[in-house]
């Protein structure tokens, strides 16, 4: 037996060995740690009392509710415009589709200060778009519409992409079955295609919302301070991202951390609510039991 021990038969090792498992845990765990540590730092930098006073202060509350309000418009815009674009990309073959797909990916790739600058140059006083938007009652510069515009620009691609993939995943034969069973094109879309794609689309809308509320670059340029106008008639305010940036610039680290914590808790609660909704079965796609 000079060649050493006989190797154990493969059958005796139904599971991967522990080194492989340990490697996976270390690699995955490192990333999770990277996600969690800054949040831990934020949550612990300000005392609970400071966080509470931030949460209850008028100007922070104003900023938070304004951000949620504006992001609601952004999500609405994504529903109205991004889902149809996703449908076109996912369901129809046309010339130049890859060009359109690249254009959709553009806002994700471009630095957002440039986005703000581009929009700014489009709508500053003196430009035709400035006159037009002002005349129809949608002034953009330093208004809620400016915030919404930037938000839609940077966040709608996520819904377009999610809708594209979700519609693509709906088997066209299922839709054809619906058609031949008596559904017109629009009815087949509403009763079959859309419900089947809904889960992915909602996931895209959640991403859109998250991206919208976290935007700062474009907003800094186009709507640093938000004056009342359009659907917003509260006091002068700014988005949470801008507010935190301001506090940080002013050296108020505790305030910045406190506001961030409050907003993180709200965002976390929203995501948790959707997850719980999925589990409890009130969301439509869960009722469809598309989840395994």
């Amino acid at each position: 037996m000079s060649r050493g021990r006989v190797r154990a038969p493969l059958m005796r090792r139904p599971h991967a060995g522990w080194p492989w498992l340990a490697l996976q845990l270390v690699l995955a765990g490192s990333l999770l740690l990277l996600f969690l540590l800054p949040i831990y730092a934020l949550f612990t930098y300000a005392t609970p009392a400071e966080i509470w006073s931030a949460a209850t202060s008028a100007y922070v509350g104003q900023s938070i509710s304004f951000t949620l309000y504006a992001s609601g418009f952004a999500v609405l815009a994504a529903v109205l415009f991004a889902i149809p674009l996703g449908y076109l990309l996912g369901r129809r073959a046309f010339r130049g589709r890859s060009v359109v797909e690249s254009v959709v990916a553009l806002p994700v790739a471009v630095p957002h200060l440039l986005v703000g600058l581009g929009l700014f140059l489009l709508v500053i006083p003196g430009t035709p778009l400035y006159r037009f938007t002002t005349e129809i009652g949608f002034p953009v510069y330093d208004t809620i519409w400016g915030v919404v515009l930037v938000m839609v620009f940077v966040s709608a691609p996520y819904t377009v992409l999610a809708a594209d993939l979700s519609f693509r995943a709906v088997d066209p034969r299922v839709v054809e079955a619906a058609r031949s069973l008596g559904a017109g094109p629009a009815t087949a879309f509403l009763t079959v295609t859309f419900p089947l794609a809904l889960r992915g689309i909602v996931a895209g809308l959640l991403l859109t919302w998250a991206r919208a509320v976290s935007e700062i670059g474009g907003i800094l340029i186009l709507a640093y301070a938000v004056y009342p106008g359009g659907p917003y008639d509260g006091p002068v305010t700014s988005t949470v991202s801008v507010l935190v940036y301001d506090l940080f610039q002013a050296g108020n680290l505790k305030g910045a951390a406190a506001v961030s914590t409050v907003f993180l808790l709200i965002a976390f609660a929203l995501f948790l609510a959707v997850r719980i909704g999925e589990r409890s079965g009130w969301v439509p796609w869960r009722r469809g039991e598309l989840l395994p």
């Binding site: 299922v174 058609r179 031949s180 009763t191 079959v192 089947l196 796609w285 039991e289």
Partner: protein, 334 residues
């Protein structure tokens, strides 16, 4: 029930051309569309259903020209490949869908009736994902019938079904044919089941109709190697495979019997006497009809059989055995 007819129907899908197809679909008759993969079987069904526009020809239901009518107005029960069940709806709401589309207020009792008829009542609240293959099949058929169709088109009815479910579905077809007389067109790769239900066969090849015929015609004259194999001739030889066989050999005899597209013959029985031909046994396995025996005949593989009653000693591997190919079991192809 109305008779349907298809006249000179042609359609194009991407670079594929289908037709011209001429076909009469009489009430209560089952037509099986057969042919190799890519022959245009599914395209034919989708053209009939209105999802691929007809370029030429007509689709007639009785006296009505449906050629340019929208799919939802054709009164068809179209069951696509994979069945096309709605994953987000329960069995009941799948079956009730056509009633809902027509705004029928009595959809509940009608749906219940269909569920009952297809043995689906206990499954009414389940989603398709939780059904067995056979159950899904029944849901698809019940749903198609809920549309009160005047023609049922079914792509691959037996796909991915286990033997029990296949048998059950065969019985459903029998029942369909017996009670209503809805004409049925099925696309299938499954010869056994096609022969058990079909009154007529439409053979497609590369988009063109080779023939529309009775089942017996297919057996008597399979015409090409695909159909020969489809109807159960296990020995099919192309002319190229037979070229150059030495005079007096089995190959030379086959070459003489061969048509322009080759020759096919059913499993020959091993003969008791010396037999005109001899082959080396390569495998032996039992079937309900007897022993299936694979022979090597001058380098050609020939599927043969040994019907019961069996001799005291079965042929063993490597043994040379005699066989005879009766002239009536040989088909010239082409």
């Amino acid at each position: 029930m109305t008779d349907w007819s298809v006249e000179g129907l042609e359609s194009d899908l991407d670079r594929f051309h289908l037709g011209p197809v001429d076909l009469a679909l009489a009430a209560g008759r089952v037509t099986a569309v057969v042919g190799p993969s890519g022959a245009g079987k599914t395209t034919l069904l989708r053209t009939l259903a209105g999802f691929v526009p007809a370029q030429r020809g007509r689709i007639l239901r009785g006296g009505d020209d449906l050629t340019v009518v929208a799919p939802e107005r054709r009164r068809l029960g179209y069951v696509p490949q994979g069945l096309g069940l709605f994953a987000h709806r329960t069995v009941e709401r799948n079956v009730s869908y056509p009633y809902e589309m027509r705004g029928r207020l009595d959809w509940k009792p009608r749906t219940r009736e269909l569920l009952d008829r297809f043995g689906l009542t206990a499954l009414a609240d389940r989603r398709p994902a939780r059904l067995s293959g056979g159950e899904m099949q029944r849901v698809a058929l019940a749903r198609a019938l809920a549309a009160d169709p005047e023609l049922v088109l079914w792509d691959e009815p037996w796909q991915a079904l286990d033997v029990e479910a296949r048998h059950a579905l065969g019985l459903v077809f029998e029942e369909l044919r017996a009670d209503g007389g809805i004409p049925l067109v099925v696309v299938t790769h499954d010869p056994g089941l096609a022969f058990s239900v079909a009154d007529a066969f439409l053979e497609l090849q590369r988009g063109a109709v080779r023939r529309v015929s009775e089942p017996a015609t297919l057996l008597a004259d399979p015409k090409d190697s695909f159909t020969a194999r489809f109807v159960g001739f296990e020995n099919v030889f192309a002319p190229a495979e037979l070229a150059g066989a030495p005079a007096g050999s089995f190959g030379a005899w086959l070459a003489r019997e061969s048509g322009p597209d080759g020759v096919a013959f059913a499993r020959p029985a091993l003969s008791a006497g010396p037999g005109p031909w001899r082959g080396v046994v390569r495998s032996v396995h039992p079937t309900p009809e007897g022993m299936a025996i694979a022979l090597d005949v001058d380098g050609r593989r020939v599927a043969a059989r040994l019907p019961p009653p069996y001799p005291p000693v079965l042929p063993s591997l490597g043994e040379t055995v005699p066989f005879d190919v009766p002239a009536e079991s040989v088909r010239r192809l082409g």
